[in-house]
């Protein structure tokens, strides 16, 4: 009787301690998140002025803004998505509609999942080797190529998942009406999975808009105004890196402004992807 009571208390105590640890862990997570966000807002907000959006990056000691970097980032991100997303959707279509369980499909699925978490700086080194070294100079094109490679696996995965959610009865119904497979895929399956595929693309935009490492030796940076895709181009992450690592106080302030802009942009895209475009639910 005494023994079993002791055992009972011991079990309850273990449970209490471990559950308290779980609460503590969540608290630690929230603590870091709020510390990060608080720093970002308290240092970034005072640095946001109109000039940040109207002037280009200054030499140390003079006034300026981030206009060229913001525009450059938008160009690179849009370019990366426009190049990477269509290939990703097509590859996802192959995995979900044609390849299914074939050996090629299984291999591509595996490789794409590995690419999803592969170090992005390696992608930069790769693009440097095949584009920058061949052409002899850094360029926005190289940056776009590197970002497209990062977009690709994100879109492949989400597209395949979303296409697989479309019930087979819809495909069969269309096929029974005499539609060839490409028509079934384009007009029935894509239409049904549209919201989900768009969500994946938006998430990939969020992912690449903060990417720094693959741009360091592809798009490089540019302290002047340039929108030429054949030239090095300014971009927010590279400017933040350069300015934050510098010893100049006014560069630091601009770096914080840039950091706040990027983070708000990324968070906004995440919220948009999650809430506005919910993946569709089918009653199978």
């Amino acid at each position: 009787m005494n023994m079993s009571r002791l055992l009972y208390i011991q079990r309850r105590a273990t449970n209490l301690v471990t559950m308290a640890f779980a609460v503590l862990a969540m608290g630690v997570g929230l603590f870091w998140l709020s510390w990060l966000l608080w720093t970002l807002f308290s240092s970034g907000m005072p640095a946001i002025q109109v000039s940040v959006f109207t002037q280009i990056t200054p030499p140390p000691g003079s006034n300026g803004g981030l206009l060229n970097a913001i525009v450059g980032s938008v160009i690179l991100t849009l370019g990366g998505v426009l190049l990477g997303a269509p290939i990703g959707v097509l590859a996802g279509t192959y995995l979900a509609e044609f390849g299914r369980d074939s050996r090629l499909a299984a291999t591509v699925r595996f490789i794409s999942d590995v690419l999803l978490s592969a170090p992005s700086i390696i992608i930069g080194v790769f693009v440097y080797e095949i584009v920058v070294r061949r052409s002899g100079h850094f360029s926005a094109w190289a940056g776009i190529g590197a970002l497209a490679i990062i977009v690709l696996p994100v879109v492949v995965r989400t597209s395949e998942d979303m296409l697989r959610l479309v019930p087979n009865t819809m495909r069969e119904a269309a096929a029974a009406l005499g539609a060839p497979q490409w028509k079934v895929t384009l007009m029935i399956v894509y239409r049904a999975a549209r919201a989900g595929i768009l969500t994946g693309i938006l998430l990939s935009v969020a992912r690449i808009s903060g990417e720094t490492a693959p741009l360091l030796f592809t798009a490089l940076n540019n302290q002047f105004w340039s929108t030429s895709l054949d030239q090095p181009i300014a971009n927010l992450p590279a400017v933040i890196f350069q300015f934050a690592m510098s010893p100049y106080e006014d560069w630091h302030r601009l770096a914080w402004a840039g950091a706040l802009i990027i983070t708000l942009g990324v968070l906004l895209l995440n919220i948009l992807a999650r809430s506005v475009l919910r993946p569709p639910r089918f009653s199978a």
Partner: protein, 308 residues
């Protein structure tokens, strides 16, 4: 006809994904060849990294990468476990979604932001408040005294590992939440029905069932930590030394690439950078590949039991 073209296009896109990864491997190997040819297998074990004499060895960067990543795992695994248990088992339903989103936000914040925060906020705080205390209280202890010895600079291997831990926690948590949800409800309910506590259900029912997935989640976190670049570059100090103290500056493969690639003068310098890139790619490929295999094995198992 059109059918054939469409099918071919999708197949080509899928094949391209495969070719890109093979291309990365090939390009890195070609770029690395001169250095690997000259330094041989000694490249991995040599701790020389001297652009002036054009002598290069990868040991400091490899050791730095491994130490920071394992430190990150050491901190992130218990943290992620606690958070997963909290969100999956403890919270009332209305709190689940906000709690999960808060943790996912940690993953959405770009790594360069972690780097800036680490350099400007965390490192000064750490150097002033935590480091002297740790150094003082660990002095005299056999292993800890050595690990926590050094000037309080704020930056170094320890700071890098700690920031990496915060960055990979949301990834491990996301995988574990998904994996824990695969446990058939009947299994958990029968354990609760026998009077098991929440902890006993997690430790004796959930964990044994999801073992492959739990390890897969850890491997995925490790893969992330190994390749993470910007956050580490800001706080590690970029020194090619192997030091027993975690408070000393070091270098990782990715921070070396970020810092030195555009400034590398001379073919052998550049080729050595390609070589450490190749080493990093191969290590992460193996780690991430193993993670995927473990996770897909668990999914197959839960599909089977769902069908039965």
């Amino acid at each position: 006809m059109v059918d054939g073209i469409f099918r071919f296009l999708t197949r080509a896109a899928a094949g391209l994904t495969f070719l890109i990864v093979m291309g990365v491997l090939l390009a890195l190997a070609l770029g690395a060849y001169p250095a690997l040819h000259k330094f041989g297998i000694g490249f991995i074990s040599s701790s020389q990294w001297n652009p002036v004499t054009q002598e290069f060895g990868a040991a400091p960067a490899i050791v730095g990468t491994l130490i920071t990543s394992f430190l990150a795992l050491l901190l992130a695994v218990p943290l992620s476990f606690g958070i997963t248990v909290f969100i999956n088992e403890l919270t009332p339903p209305w709190l689940k979604r906000p709690a999960a989103i808060a943790i996912e936000l940690l993953a959405a914040i770009p790594s360069i932001i972690y780097g800036m925060w680490g350099l400007f906020v965390f490192a000064p705080w750490f150097a002033e408040h935590a480091q002297p205390w740790l150094t003082e209280h660990s002095a005299g202890w056999p292993l800890l005294g050595m690990l926590f010895d050094g000037p309080p600079m704020g930056i170094g291997m320890f700071s890098a590992g700690l920031i990496l831990a915060i960055m990979i926690t949301p990834f491990i948590t996301a995988i574990w939440r998904e994996v824990f949800a695969l446990v058939p409800a009947v299994l958990k309910e029968s354990a609760y029905g026998l009077g098991a506590t929440t902890w006993e259900v997690i430790w004796k029912v959930v964990l044994p069932y999801t073992r492959a997935g739990v390890i897969g989640g850890i491997m995925l976190g490790l893969g992330r930590a190994l390749g993470e670049t910007m956050a580490v570059t800001f706080v590690i100090g970029n020194a090619h030394d192997i030091s027993p103290s975690l408070f000393m500056p070091g270098a990782t493969i990715s921070s070396t690439l970020a810092n030195e690639f555009t400034e590398a003068v001379g073919d052998m310098y550049l080729s050595s950078l390609f070589a450490i890139g190749l080493i990093l790619f191969i290590i992460t490929f193996i780690v991430l590949g193993a993670a995927r295999l473990l996770l897909s094995r668990l999914r197959a198992k839960s599909l089977q039991s769902a069908a039965a």
